[in-house]
Amino acid sequence: MFVSMLFPIFLGIVVVLFFLLPKTWRPAVLLLSSYVFCGYIDAFALIVLLVTSVLVWGAALEIERSRERGAEGRSKVEAVVATTACVFVLCTFKYTTYFVQRLGLESRISDNILECLIMPVGLSFYLFQAIGYLVDVYKGISPAEKNFWHLGCYFGFFAKLVSGPIERENSFLPQIKKLDQVKFGDRGRLSVAFTYMLWGYFMKMVVADRLAVIASKLFGSYQEFDSLWLVLGMVFYTIQIYCDFAGYSNIAVGCAKIFGIDLVQNFNAPYQASNITEFWRRWHISLSSWLRDYLYIPLGGNRKGLFRKCINTMIIFLVCGMWHGAGLNFIAWGFLHGVYSVTDSLIRKKKKSIVGGKIITFFAVAFAWMFFRADSLREALAHIFRMLTAGLHVEQYNRFLEMLQLSGVEIIIICISIILVWTLDELCSRKQVCLPELIQQKKNTTRYFIFYLLIISIFIFGIYGPGYHAEQFIYMSF
């Protein structure tokens, strides 16, 4: 949706309404516009969002009421029922279609029912928020939100609806309550927002979508290519998924900043991590921290000895894999990351540091992405087998280039964009700051010159327009 030609128009209308209408209406403006946004993508997704928001709103109030009346048992039962219902809804949408297909039951179920079982937009993200919120209300960490406009925004705010980040109520809701204090001309806010969005669009349209075209061909007909090209395909997909998701997150953060809302940072130069634990502190931060707080720590975390820590780690990553999609390949991806993390814990327990940690971590993560990218576990294994055994066929490279429709200019653009993203991530990692903030720190002339280069690059080298259908944001389907 962010790459749709209609999005700037939609955003422009929401900004005008937000700042022109009475300040007390602002949560309502954001919520209603978010529902328009969701309904435009899929009317059924809007119904699911609306029903979920209302039920969670009511359930949290009831849990809090029971707790305040001293009915701890009742409060606990209500919390368990509500969170189980969320997990049930999530699993139903995530797995029913998968099992129907696996068991060959498509012909016995009507198309209308199958259509209704397609994962609604953003469900995984706002249901995780709902579970976290219900648990926090039950534990008394956060009060139940009485104002539906506010809680509705927490679940449905359009900037983060499709692919997160997974926000926490205690950082998001206070900002919604203070929307009336946001001024259009607040010093630097719009400039920061613009920088985030511009960099996000660059990552998505110039880098991710360009690599997506090649990665799709390499993954789609892997039998045709030799080992080197399949390794390149693995690397391309690794960078694609990062630029796609981080690009989306930057656009989301930028959009939210226009309205004075700070979303959590989802990425912090993840491929600059020198071990897998560090990688997960830098990749999809809102998900990994959610899993840590609501699953890993309640399971005992690392407080019950090394063995339990390893088991908990494996559980976390298996759940993480299952959250990302239905299929053994996602479980294999999660399992692999679990094994990486356990190994890393054992190595670090012996306080051994590994030479070339960054490179090893990058290729370990890239290897795991192959399971993530494949259509099935069997396909992933076949692809990996081919990659390891095909050997080099230099004499066929011209044919490979033709198959991938890679011309000289295109190769140069790919090389420059990968080097650019890599170098800037390295720079940001060293300075401990994200790129848009780094750009903001520059002098006006330098900053505007960077804006200029980014806009022109997106204009010319962005992948958009007819004959080409922008790759959906990869994380939209989770």
């Binding site: 200019v409 505007y448 200029y452 204009f459 080298f461 007819p466």
Partner: protein
């Protein structure tokens, strides 16, 4: 306190200016160039204002068959082939609205081959040729909304989204599209002759029924008639010579009926093959288009009709019309290249 703000605003203005200028240059370079309609459409903007007396409109039957150089050289008529491949009447209507922003022609000659041959309400095959040369305006948006189904709109708008990825296909010609190339651009008057000679079977037409004009075409034909009347221009409907069919003729009969009701002229030049001296062995490029030599004969015959209008002056030798001399020179250069065997980029 004020100084930093002034400096900041100066940087902002410089940034916007630099951005606009860069986008202008890359748009000029990257825009699609094509002699099947885009160049004719874009070429209008290079013409001196209010210099064109006869605007030739319609399909490729115009820019392949009407020799603007001959009209100037022999009759002193300033004309321009403002047409596009298979252009339907609803697009012609918005072309008309566009051209009156810059020109006030005395006569509009409109070829009605498209409504006779193509009956769909949305015609996509050559539509790009009729879109990408037009500057952005609400008129263009309206044209798109009428010509393209809503779900297809993003396939054609905005134009830059379509041609921005041409960075790998740029040619020398793409870098000759700036204001300093104005004289060269002005000399192009839309005429793009074909150079093949392919024998055709002379059609024998007996159709007398009047029918086959779709309601969308009829609606826009009436709008065109009304619009040209409101602008004070004479509208002349024509069917230029080609290998006509009975089905086409049926639609021409219907158009002729409408023309009579509206008191405007309709001429089917397929009834005057002998009068204009068309040779079906030598004068056709294909069954739909004349070649250069056929276009010379047809244009000459058309000019004899146009000459009957007192409102069309002989402008030879007048100041401000030198670009038509250049147009004649360009056409002769192309003819010379053909005769020398050095003509490039023509479809054999």
């Amino acid at each position: 306190m004020k100084k930093p703000l002034v400096k900041k605003n100066l940087i902002r203005i410089s940034f916007l200016l630099l951005l606009v200028i860069t986008i202008y240059f890359i748009s000029r370079i990257f825009s699609v160039k094509s002699t099947h309609g885009i160049d004719q459409q874009a070429g209008l903007y290079w013409q001196p204002e209010n210099s064109i007396d006869v605007m030739m409109m319609g399909t490729s039957h115009i820019h392949c068959n009407v020799n603007t150089g001959l009209l100037w050289e022999k009759y002193g008529i300033t004309s321009y082939d403002y047409s596009g491949a298979e252009q339907p009447l609803w697009m012609t209507y918005f072309y008309l609205k566009e051209l009156y922003k810059y020109q006030s022609p005395k006569v509009i000659v409109l070829d009605v081959y498209a409504p006779a041959r193509y009956k769909e309400d949305y015609q996509y095959y050559w539509i790009s040729e009729n879109i990408y040369g037009m500057n952005f305006s609400f008129n263009k948006l309206e044209m798109l909304l009428v010509s393209v189904e809503p779900k297809q709109l993003s396939q054609y708008f905005p134009s830059f989204a379509i041609y921005h990825s041409r960075y790998d296909d740029l040619e020398e010609e793409d870098f000759e599209n700036f204001f300093w190339d104005g004289n060269q651009k002005e000399a192009f008057k839309g005429y793009t002759p074909y150079w093949n000679a392919r024998p055709q079977v002379r059609p024998e037409i007996s159709e007398e029924m009047a029918d086959g004009l779709t309601s969308k075409s009829e609606k826009y034909l009436h709008k065109i008639i009304e619009y040209t009347k409101s602008k004070g221009s004479e509208l002349v409907l024509i069917a230029s010579p080609y290998v006509i069919t009975d089905e086409d003729k049926m639609t021409y009969n219907k158009i002729e009926e409408i023309a009579k009701q509206e008191d405007i002229t309709f001429i089917d030049y397929n009834e005057y093959y002998d009068e204009m001296g068309l040779d079906f062995e030598q004068d056709f490029n294909d069954d739909s288009h004349l070649n250069y030599w056929g276009s010379v004969k047809f244009t000459d015959y058309l000019a004899s009709y146009l000459n009957s209008y007192d409102s069309i002056p002989d402008r030879r030798g007048m100041e401000g019309y030198e670009s038509w001399d250049d147009n004649v020179r360009l056409i002769y250069e192309e003819l010379q290249s053909y005769e020398d065997g050095t003509l490039v980029n023509w479809e054999e």
